[in-house]
Amino acid sequence: MVQAESSSLEPVAKRVYSYYPGCSLHASAKEFDVSAKLVCQKLGIELRELEDWICCGASAAHSTSHLLSLALPAHTLKQAGEKGLPLAVPCAMCFSRLRITLHELKKKETLDLVSRTLEKELSTDVTVESMLDVLANESISLPVTKPLERLKVACYYGCLLARPPEVIGCDDAENPQTMDRLMGRLGAEVADWGLKTSCCGAGVSFPRLDIVLKLSHRILSLARSTGADCIAVACPMCHANLDMYQKDMTAKHKEKTNLPVLYFTQLMGLALGFSPKELHLDRHLTDPLPMLREKGLA
Amino acid sequence: MASDFTQQIREKARELLEDGTVECVIGYETGSDGISARPAFIYNAADVERLVFDNTCTHNLVKYLLNKKAKSTAVVVKGCDSRALNLLLSERQIERDKAFVVGVVCPGIVESRWNERSEQLQKRCDWCRQHTPVVSDFMVGDPVTEQPPADFADVAEEEAKTAEERAAFWQQQAERCIRCYACRQACPGCYCTDCFAESLDPEWVGIRIAPAESQMWNTIRAFHLAGRCISCNECERVCPVNLPLSLLNRKLEQKVLELFDYRAGMSEDAPAPLITFKKDEKLGIAE
């Protein structure tokens, strides 16, 4: 609705979003933050980071206290609401928490409970969009300068961008297409594969690394078997798991995966002409640069 | 105007009786008080001079056609009365070719009782949106353009009360009702040979002339006219204890208009709302 207003002001439809980076984008997933911002800038999407955003509670809160797991995102939603702008969220985990909270606040009694807890007048009159949905919006034209030709990408969405479908509103929880179509528009070849939304094990990263290795390895090896050159992700957790442990997997499964795992925003960045450096492509543990060079993209 | 209408009616009546088109002309004549009209039945051309038409011609003469089924009859009708013709035609109570309709573009009818004649228009004339008859073989007066449908201020006023007040209000009315059934006898829509009210078995309405029975009578009378009442308001006019019967009729008229977009007696072949339906209509019950 705000968009409508602003667009009525300016002939060139300019999109404005409140921006919620979330903790990991200020730390482990800096490259996601950076690339996302660059891409948005390029595409005329203005991101206004919320001044007083706090942790969404991620996996920790809801395993501790349901109320807490709602209260934390609610705080952020409150601000977003006051801004009157749609909220763009890159991190799949944060996105999931915010969306779920929004969903639960639709219940009157929950709304009252959380409002009382935060001593704030909460409303559910705010839209939360994942950065993927923001950028995949087909009405946005992509000024591709360096098409991702010869690059085969396996798009990996993970659990949180797909489930629960009734809350997330994913196009197809088992075989989503949003990112695939986006990559296609960038000139990349996309792999049709069956583990786009399978769990990478993030939930148990610390207690049960073995499971993480098993699940992530399954994903990587299938992706590889489809001939993909890299995996595109939209979630810091997934990224961490898939990218970080490839050495351990190689050790465990006696099979070299070595498959670069990039944020979809980084791939967009490349196609839109940003340099690997700007996009922090050097921050990954599984180094994508050799592959990218080989493809003439770096 | 009146005198001119009277003239036209007399001439038509004479013509019809002389050439034998009809056996009888039902019109109006001056009553025993010398100031207000009453129904007149003219069988001989010689008597047509008795016929008059003025703003006291309140009776709905269509009612009388029900007694003249077999014979060909001419009847003088005002706009509101004429809707009763359609009602009775659609319900196959009269045959069109047996009735010669002398339509009178209604000048408005005044409040009058025996030996009393005010210049105050009857309230039905405020609601009336049919001054020009919808059926006629001969029209007296020039058709007028009708105003948009009436609002239902009177109904709204009643509805403003609480349910309890309304209940009390109708209770009082029922206490006055002496169940003479004049309302029924005057109504063109009430033509059953055996009225439910007098049925002994099933005994819908008890014999007592008492509030409960009278309410039963008045409620069902109104409901049996739901979507059929053509709002000539004769029922209310004839009531010897002045029950506000029009309120009930109008409440239903309003709802029928709102729910089914239907006005009784406007055409001969539009099915009455309660003997037809639409599969996917929303009427606010069980939804």
Partner: protein, 335 residues
């Protein structure tokens, strides 16, 4: 010399009556004047014309239980209705009073109708002479008069500063006991009821006009509602039906009228008076022919209620004159 009572004295007297008896008097409810019980004297409409409904309700109620029957163990117990309440009707007009009185004919003739008898016994009528007869009135033509005291227990005649009191019956005397009456020589101005109806020899005329098509034509406009019968002080036809509630049976008598369809329907479904003409004729034959033949007086007292309230202006006065003419014609023919 006459006895008089001032307005105030009258009111306090009525006030006292109120204490131990039901006082019925004309009251204005909404736009009607009706004989109704009053709770206090100021409810009484002293200077109203004649009431819209006749006072017959108080002798012949619109609905009245004759008896109730009930299962008692094995057999059935019947309890006849009894009227205990003493009632005083104030403000009844001579014509209406006469109407009640002549109904003693049918109701008290052997076997007497116990309920009617009880109502009559328990009710005292304080009449009020007509100071200004209405246009529809024609009592004088029917053998009555605006100041006729024959059928009341007490007749009051309004005079400038009070009422002339005429205690007609013992009942009246009793009711007046202890009431201070002034001696005075005022005399009530004698009002006249100038509408004249040729009732003379009407009985004969009706007999002769019995078969005349006149009735059928007249019935053309009759709606056969029961208004005339229900407003009439002398229409006394009724219907009887039982009503069960909780195993208890009430036998009820209610007003009915010869005008309603099927009134004369008999077992097997035959109805000797199916056509409207014969039904309408019945009403007038009863009033002007059968009633006098059986009980003496005409069955109409000229109160004029039917004249006013008939929705299609069927006017008994007109009919009487018409029938006189008809009768005359037929008479000539026959002689």
């Amino acid at each position: 010399m006459t006895k008089t009572l001032s307005k105030n004295e009258l009111e306090s007297w009525l006030g006292n009556i109120l204490k131990e008896r039901t006082l019925v008097a004309p009251r204005c409810v909404d736009d009607l004047t009706l004989f109704l019980p009053v709770a206090s004297v100021d409810e009484i409409a002293f200077d109203c014309g004649n009431t819209d409904l006749s006072p017959k309700d108080w002798f012949f109620p619109r609905t009245e239980a004759l008896f109730t029957a009930e299962h008692k163990d094995a057999d059935i117990e019947i309890t006849p209705a009894v009227i205990e309440q003493e009632t005083v009707i104030f403000g009844i007009r001579p014509c209406d009073a006469k109407g009640i009185a002549i109904l003693d004919g049918p109701y008290l003739a052997d076997p007497a109708d116990s309920l009617w008898a009880q109502h009559r016994a328990k009710t005292t009528m304080i009449g009020l002479s007509c100071s200004s007869p209405a246009p529809q009135c024609f009592c004088t033509s029917m053998g009555g008069a605006p100041f006729d005291s024959s059928s009341v227990d007490i007749l009051l005649t309004e005079v400038n500063d009070g009422y002339i009191v005429d205690a007609v019956t013992e009942k009246g005397e009793k009711l007046l006991q202890g009431v201070e009456l002034k001696e005075s020589d005022v005399s009530g101005s004698v009002p006249s009821c100038d509408t004249q109806v040729p009732a003379e020899g009407i009985t004969e005329a009706v007999k002769r006009a019995f078969d005349d098509p006149y009735w059928g034509r007249l019935a053309d406009r009759c709606l056969h509602c029961n208004i005339c019968a229900y407003v009439c002080p002398t229409c006394y036809c009724f219907d009887i039906r039982d009503r069960t509630e909780g195993g208890k049976i009430e036998r009820l008598r209610t007003w009915e009228s010869c005008q309603s369809k099927g009134f004369t329907k008999i077992a097997g479904g035959h109805d000797p008076r199916v056509d409207k003409g014969s039904r309408l004729r019945q009403r007038f034959c009863h009033k002007l022919l059968y009633f006098p033949e059986q009980f003496g007086p005409l069955g109409c007292v000229g109160c004029g209620r039917c004249v006013v309230s008939c929705p299609v202006n069927i006017d008994i006065r007109e009919i009487i004159s018409d029938v006189q003419e008809l009768g005359a014609k037929v008479g000539e023919g026959s002689s």
